[in-house]
């Protein structure tokens, strides 16, 4: 029997771990920092077990609605703390606690020698608790609080090595850019709050999420409590928050920089869970989006464009984690685009499968870094011989990302493509077609950059690793990046790191088919199309059918993906091996990498500078636009008017304070006189103003 305390325990266990680590272990037992890892792993194991159990119970039709607890009554709106359990929540619970559990085990190995390991696990506990709290929230204020807590923990973890300037800058950037999106979300919440009277008239609470869904539905009398342009703007505000968290264009620039954090952090937060919170948020308020064609069109086009654009950027990055970061943005674009065209189930399915294989890829990148001392693929190469397990697992993750049957990514990506091809009555057909074209093109690019990454890292000759990079940087008289280590020991990572990757590898193979079996009645008690039908039951207003498997689309997308892999093989395997014997400088050229894409000239420059988005934001918008023009004007106003006013008010306060303090003579006779005077003043006041008080 699922009781409310048991569901709350999913959230409270990692929170308890956070409190214990930060209040007990870090102050008193910092030398035994690994204890904190064990504590969090145990807490998460229980949370994960409970999550699976809750999912199972919910799937079997158990009633999991719990009354909310009122925290504050504010007029018509009351802020409540409550649990909202629907298929969306239960699946997110499993994903978050599961991926987090695996990543924490891996971190035991990866962070073993870091003196800040207790702090690391404290932040990780806080993050996981906030993320679980976020998906459980039944009230939009509660959700927003966790939303910001997730942002803060992400900030703390990106800047975990805060003595590195790049990490500190990246943390700041992530915080500010996501905050820009959050303004939209906050405005939407404030708007809802001030609709209290209208909601209350219908017996609804403007901050209770199911009530917000209800309010967006058309009434029998026509119109809706929350409808028309207001609904579109509320939905767009929510999407703005989601776009910031999920790195959607044009708020995508923070995510690649966020890779300055420890690699397990990237795997958990910036690949599997937190960045998916944006997708979750749109899905959470999907009943609103269903009623507004305009907002949904924006979501679809932004998602589709992001999927394509980020994939092009992934082509030219040399940092293995940045390749994956753009890949993550691109895949989140797939999910958003799917939500935009009405493919609700496929979007969540992709969120589910992506979490496992992208976490796997990141942990693999961490493992490679452990061996080579660098993240720069120009200094890697040939690692497949020393790291067979890592190679195999990254290959599995990569093939899953590319979408090769029968790996997990294939099934979900295929559903999204089918959904986009078929479209739905929620958006105009042209939108669905444009999105389909963008997504299909992105398949080609995804295949190419994924295998470029694999070839550069694991094939060819070893190009010196971190030691070589430091030497090269010294030759150019530049400081090497802070993340580069001179220690190069080309060997497989320890079991504590490989074992979690193996778990994720298994998930990356089977999670797609097992969760949503095709062509059979059932597998291991999982009925056919289980995931699709379970998620569909989350759509309580209207009906959204998850598209069924489509052979045409599957064959086309597979062919496109294979073409991308072939192209990568051509450019990074065949050509270099052909050219090598021709040149006589075999020994010397070792360590140098010919980058075939540079031949594309200006296009390559455009891509490797990320479409100049950072320059545009930082130089033009921030430095020229914001600092010079806007900040200049504000500065002038501030100096001449605001400061003057503030100084004036502060002066008035301080001086009147001084003046009043003059009365504090210390003379007790005077104190007594003031009391009597007070009584007299009360009398006089009554006699002057008191007439007519008694009406």
């Amino acid at each position: 029997m699922v009781t409310e305390p048991l569901v709350w325990a999913i959230f409270f266990l990692p929170l308890l771990s956070f409190l214990l680590i930060s209040l007990v272990i870090r102050p008193f037992l910092n030398r035994y920092g690994w204890l904190s890892g064990g504590l969090l792993i145990v807490a998460l194991a229980v949370s994960f077990g409970l999550s699976i159990w809750v999912l199972r119970q919910h799937n079997q039709g158990a009633d999991l609605t719990f009354a909310a607890h009122t925290w504050l009554e504010l007029g018509d709106a009351s802020i409540e703390l409550g649990l909202l359990l629907d298929p969306l929540t239960t699946i997110m619970l499993v994903v978050v606690s599961g991926v987090s559990l695996v990543v924490q085990i891996y971190s035991l190995g990866y962070m073993r020698h870091d003196p800040g390991i207790a702090r690391y696990y404290a932040y990780m506990s806080l993050f996981t608790a906030s993320m679980l709290g976020l998906v459980l929230s039944a009230n939009i204020i509660q959700l927003y609080a966790f939303w910001e807590l997730v942002g803060i923990s992400s900030y703390l973890l990106i800047g975990f090595w805060h003595d590195r300037p790049a990490a500190a800058a990246a943390a700041k950037k992530a915080f500010i850019v996501t905050r820009i999106g959050d303004v939209g979300f906050l405005l939407a919440i404030i708007y809802l709050f001030f609709q209290g009277a209208e909601f209350a008239a219908a017996g609804l609470n403007p901050l209770h999420i199911p009530d917000i869904w209800q309010a967006a539905q058309p009434l029998a009398t026509g119109g809706a409590i929350l409808g028309g342009a207001a609904l579109t703007w509320v939905a767009l505000g929510i999407f703005a928050g989601a776009a910031g968290k999920s790195g959607q264009f044009p708020l995508h620039t923070w995510l690649p920089d966020a890779m300055e954090g420890p690699t397990p952090v990237s795997a958990l937060i910036h690949a599997a869970t937190m960045v998916a919170a944006g997708v979750f948020l749109v899905a959470r308020f999907y009943p609103l989006f269903q009623e507004t064609r305009e907002a949904l069109t924006v979501v679809a086009l932004v998602g589709g464009f992001t999927a394509f654009m980020a994939a092009t950027l992934g082509l030219v990055m040399n940092d293995i984690k940045r390749v994956m970061a753009y890949s993550t943005i691109s895949q989140l674009g797939y999910m958003m685009a799917a939500l935009g065209v009405g493919a609700f189930g496929p979007a969540l399915f992709h969120l589910f499968t992506h979490a496992w294989f992208k976490a796997l890829l990141f942990l693999g990148a961490g493992s490679v870094n452990h061996a080579s001392g660098t993240f720069n693929m120009r200094y890697m190469g040939g690692l497949r011989r020393q790291m067979p397990w890592t190679y195999l697992l990254i290959l599995i993750g990569g093939l899953s990302l590319v979408g090769i049957i029968p790996l997990a990514g294939f099934w979900s990506k295929d559903e999204i493509l089918t959904g986009a091809w078929l479209g739905s009555d929620l958006v105009d057909p042209w939108v669905a077609r444009v999105v389909f074209g963008l997504l299909l093109a992105a398949v080609l690019l995804t295949a190419f950059y994924t295998f470029r990454m694999i070839f550069l890292t694991f094939h060819g000759e070893f190009r010196g690793g971190g030691a070589q990079e430091i030497a090269d940087a010294a030759a150019r008289q530049e400081p090497p990046p802070a993340s580069v280590s001179e220690e190069v020991h080309r060997a497989e990572s320890p079991l504590v790191m490989v074992a979690p990757m193996l778990l994720l590898g298994v998930a990356a193979i089977i999670a797609g088919y097992l969760a949503n079996p095709q062509w059979v009645k059932s597998i291991l008690t999982i009925p056919a199309h289980w995931f699709a039908e379970y998620v569909e039951s989350a759509v309580i207003f209207g009906h959204l059918e998850t598209p069924h498997f489509n052979f045409m689309i599957a064959i086309i997308s597979t062919l496109v993906a294979l073409a991308g892999i072939g192209l990568a093989w051509l450019l990074y395997q065949l050509l270099p091996s052909r050219q090598a014997p021709e040149g006589e400088e075999g020994e010397e050229s070792q360590g140098e990498l010919a980058e075939p894409l540079t031949k594309a000239g200006p296009l390559h420059t455009l891509l490797s500078r990320k479409y100049f988005a950072d320059e545009l934001y930082e130089d033009v918008l921030v430095r020229r636009g914001f600092y010079r023009a806007f900040a200049g004007a504000v500065d002038w106003l501030d100096r001449n008017w605001v400061d003057g006013l503030v100084d004036f008010i502060a002066g008035v306060c301080r001086n009147s304070g001084r003046l009043l303090a003059q009365f504090q003579t210390g003379q007790v006779q005077f104190y007594g006189a003031v009391i009597v005077l007070g009584a007299v003043l009360i009398l006089v006041g009554y006699l002057i103003f008191g007439a007519g008080l008694r009406g």
Partner: protein, 531 residues
């Protein structure tokens, strides 16, 4: 006097008995450490008796009752054992327990009269509990004196110039206030012919002479004005507020901590009881008076606090400001509750104002005790009260610095602390009573208060440790204090800090249970119960 009557006042009696017991114990033993233990353990008796009375009220032993005092009892007109009184019993006992816990290390520094310190504290507490339940003017007066006189002795306890001055000033101002209070009571009695609050209400109904005059007659008007300034002394509100900073600066810090929360709380209880029970028809008059006092108190308190450099003086003004905020809730109550009684009512809304007052008192108790306990512990370490000497506190004593910062943030009214919730409720009550201007003024005052509260946090977290500040006692008052710097960590004080800080945060995170308790407590007031 029957046995049942004894039972009715048993919490107060056991509290007073405990005080005398501790003083006697001091004579009997040389191991002074036992005194605090005895006082703390002994508090279980009044606590248990209060619990039993509450259980009986809620109907565990029979039918649920509004008031345990039977009409036939000789206590009937003068003492009402109801949930309102019991709420304050719990508040006073909790505050007393925490203060005793926090003062153990402080009292060890005293050379003599250790037992008397605890004894006087407990005697004053018994007066407070009596005051919270008193429903008759003479009883109220006796309880007021019982509350104040031990505190006067405690204020002068250190026998140095500063403490002595504090005690004498406290005594004189208290005497003036008593005189005014008594005179006010006499006038009210003369006009209504009764000293019991219920009787006054009845008397008012019969004799209303001049309809255009506030309160209907000059005698009553003067009586109310005098009674109000008398009670304002206990509230530490304008115009009877000037003693506060002097006493806060000179008196022993644990005494100030107790004075600032428990004494103030029961005074607000008394004010609510008088306004609601004795003047159920006179809401508009009371409302304008209390609103004016609230406005002036918070503004004066906050403005003068800005200029203070001694942390205890600063808290003296801070407590005046908070008296102002709380008075907002009392003013809000009277305009919407008792005053418009019988006319178009606002449903159960009349509980909103007084229950927000009760909640605010509890939240303020938690936050202010956190602050004062931290000040005690810091004072023992650095031997100074000057805010400048608090520099670098976060490195010298991170726990105390963080706790004091938490208390200060709470006093501003920032979430997630109890006073945040309390301020929301109290200002909402004001808005709903049509006192929008007062709510706005309250918010502006909260912003002003942030200036001096945050200033302390800034000193503790951002400024360097003052040179020699950690070792030698600096500041003009250093050599006169028993708070000579010690290296011994005061564990019990720290425990008290932690408990009070926990309560501060808990009241912000889960205000529900206490709010419900406050709401059920105020329904015991006849003005509210009429709805």
């Amino acid at each position: 006097m029957s046995l049942h009557d004894l039972y009715l006042i048993s919490p107060q009696l056991t509290m007073a008995g405990l005080g005398i017991l501790v003083i006697l114990l001091d004579l009997a033993t040389d191991r002074k450490g036992w005194l605090a233990a005895a006082a703390l353990l002994g508090l279980a008796a009044p606590l248990a008796l209060t619990l039993v009375q509450l259980a009986q009220l809620t109907g565990i032993y029979g039918p649920a009752l509004d008031n345990l005092t039977p009409a036939s009892s000789i206590l009937a007109p003068s003492l009402s054992v109801d949930r309102f009184g019991l709420f304050f019993n719990f508040l006073v006992i909790t505050a007393a327990a925490l203060v005793i816990l926090a003062s153990v290390d402080y009292v060890k520094g005293l050379t003599r009269l250790q037992g008397e310190f605890y004894g006087l504290l407990l005697l004053s507490a018994s007066g407070m509990m009596l005051l919270a339940s008193a429903t008759e003017l003479i009883t109220i007066y006796v309880a007021l004196e019982l509350t104040t006189l031990p505190l006067v002795a405690l204020a002068a306890f250190l026998m140095n110039a500063r403490s002595g001055e504090a005690g004498v000033k406290f005594l004189i101002i208290s005497a003036i206030s008593s005189a005014l209070t008594l005179y006010g009571m006499a006038l009210i009695f003369g006009f209504t012919g009764s000293t019991s609050l219920e009787g006054i209400a009845a008397g008012l109904g019969q004799a209303t002479a001049q309809p255009n005059l506030p309160f209907g007659s000059y005698a009553l008007l003067v009586g109310v004005a005098l009674l109000t300034v008398g009670i304002a002394f206990k509230l530490s509100a304008v115009p009877s507020h000037m003693w506060v900073p002097d006493v806060y600066e000179g008196a022993p810090t644990p005494v100030v901590a107790f004075l600032s929360v428990a004494s103030k709380a029961v005074a607000f209880g008394l004010l609510l009881r008088i306004v609601y029970t004795a003047f159920p028809e006179m809401g508009p008059e009371w409302g304008i008076l209390l609103a004016a006092l609230a406005a002036v108190s918070m503004t004066v308190g906050n403005l003068v606090a800005i200029t203070q450099s001694n942390i205890r003086r600063l808290f003296g003004y801070s407590t005046i400001a908070h008296a102002g905020y709380i008075l907002v809730g009392v003013a809000a109550m009277s305009q919407t509750g008792a005053g418009e009684n019988g006319v178009a009512g606002g449903g159960g809304f009349a509980t909103f104002g007084p229950s927000s007052v009760l909640f605010y008192l509890a939240a303020y108790t938690a936050a202010n005790l956190t602050a004062f306990f931290a000040i005690i512990a810091i004072g023992q370490r650095i031997g100074s009260d000057r805010i400048d000497d608090y520099g670098g506190m976060v490195r010298r004593s991170p726990f105390l610095a963080v706790a004091l910062a938490l208390a200060l943030i709470a006093l501003i009214g920032v979430p997630p602390t109890g006073i945040f919730v309390a301020k929301i409720y109290i200002f909402t009550a004001a808005v709903k009573s049509g006192l929008v201007w007062l709510a706005v003024l309250g918010v502006i005052n909260s912003v002003i208060s942030a200036y001096y509260y945050v200033k302390i946090i800034r000193v503790m977290f951002l400024q360097p440790i003052p040179e020699g500040g950690a070792e030698t006692a600096t500041g003009e008052s250093g050599d006169e204090q028993p708070e000579a710097p010690t290296d011994q960590p005061s564990k019990l004080t720290n425990l008290a800090v932690a408990l009070a800080a926990l309560a501060t945060v808990l009241l912000g995170l889960a205000p529900g249970p206490l709010l419900q308790a406050a709401e059920s407590a105020v329904t015991a007031l006849s003005g509210v119960a009429l709805r």
